[in-house]
Symmetry: C2
Subunit: 223 residues, 2 copies
Amino acid sequence: MRDRKAEILDAAARLIARQGYKQTSIDDVIKASGLCGKSHFYHHFKSKEELGKEVLNRSFERFGERGLAILREPLIDPIERLNLFIDSIVVAQAERGCVASSPFCGVAAEMADAGEGFRTRIDAVFDRWCDQIRSLLEQSDGRLRDGVDAARIARFIIATLEGAVLMTRVTREIKVMQGIAEDLKRFIAMQLRDDAFSGPRSPSTGGGQQERGSGALAGSSAT
Amino acid sequence: MRDRKAEILDAAARLIARQGYKQTSIDDVIKASGLCGKSHFYHHFKSKEELGKEVLNRSFERFGERGLAILREPLIDPIERLNLFIDSIVVAQAERGCVASSPFCGVAAEMADAGEGFRTRIDAVFDRWCDQIRSLLEQSDGRLRDGVDAARIARFIIATLEGAVLMTRVTREIKVMQGIAEDLKRFIAMQLRDDAFSGPRSPSTGGGQQERGSGALAGSSAT
DNA sequence: TGCGACTTAGACTGGTCGGTCCTATATTGC
DNA sequence: GCAATATAGGACCGACCAGTCTAAGTCGCA
């Protein structure tokens, strides 16, 4: 016996990511998860709102697992980890064809408006991400420029990534997001003291395209 | 007789900004604009979609007028103008109590999904904004660091502002957006060559008259 | 005086949606 | 064997929603 509830959650998460919470009907979820009738759905969830909350928890958690795993990877230079994290968001968005956005952007905004319960949940998750990034930046202590507020930079990073996801939803072109991600990495590098060793160079060779996967590995470039 | 159609558009724009396009029903619009029946609404608009498009045009235009007026102000240093523009977005969001977001962020994402017609419209508007910012950055020619791609930086600025608006919708705290805006200004300053004046300081004096003399202010790189 | 544009007013259609209720049949643990 | 739980299938309710339709009143203008 497979876990039907998990299947429902998976289907709902996919639908919500693609078309939003309010635009996803219970009937959609039932059809997509191969259920037979509403009673079965309501056997597992007491309401659509409960479904929404569980989807939120789940997808944020899953995203967190992947994203935070990168951020915590102990063997890689902290700043490089941040770059990899940014790349992972870009790749995830590219995989979604620039359309869906869970748990980023559209869904966050829409669900935040759909109820105070949703909003505080999303707020808390953003906080956790920011915290993780902040602590990463602080691990590179002594490399941050004087006066740079790590917590604020963390917010900035999350906000810019959110905005980048939004832009791809409007333009439907992943290269827009790639450009933003590159600039974001450059911004992060600029928060480091000049005498710090690593960091993607200041823009040197043409302003154009660069392969993703990693901006600049820790040992490679020093300018 | 006042212009009823304009009243309908105003009411609809307010509702859509607050609760989104799909969540705003025709009946809501009718009630908010003091109409009496649907026939009257359908006398002015052939469908909800047409209403949406006109609201989009209008609010983007209005926003454009304000924002672009700042960007074009010929008497102020280009970079300083950009800072003022950023401030104006922060102020606008603060005025809205961090909730609504027209024409930024949530509405753009939602409407972009609501139909290809909407999407291309929004895309075009973003393009125009980015273009304006790009040309502004290029006016400060000789001050930009080598290899800095003005068009890409423009996208980055818009994306970050979008993301910042989103963050305030989730956190409901304007100071988050203020922090992001400060960092964004700092980022812009960092795109300038070291020998150009730099400094992320907050601008203070508000702009005065908005002259429509768009280009032609070539002698830009004052200090 | 008559025409056409605008306004007020609301009933109605066909559809969707969240949610309830009811009836059955499997499966599982005790 | 029994009871709890899970699965299946669907009728139904009240609500809301986009859009249509009818009908009548106001106003400017030719």
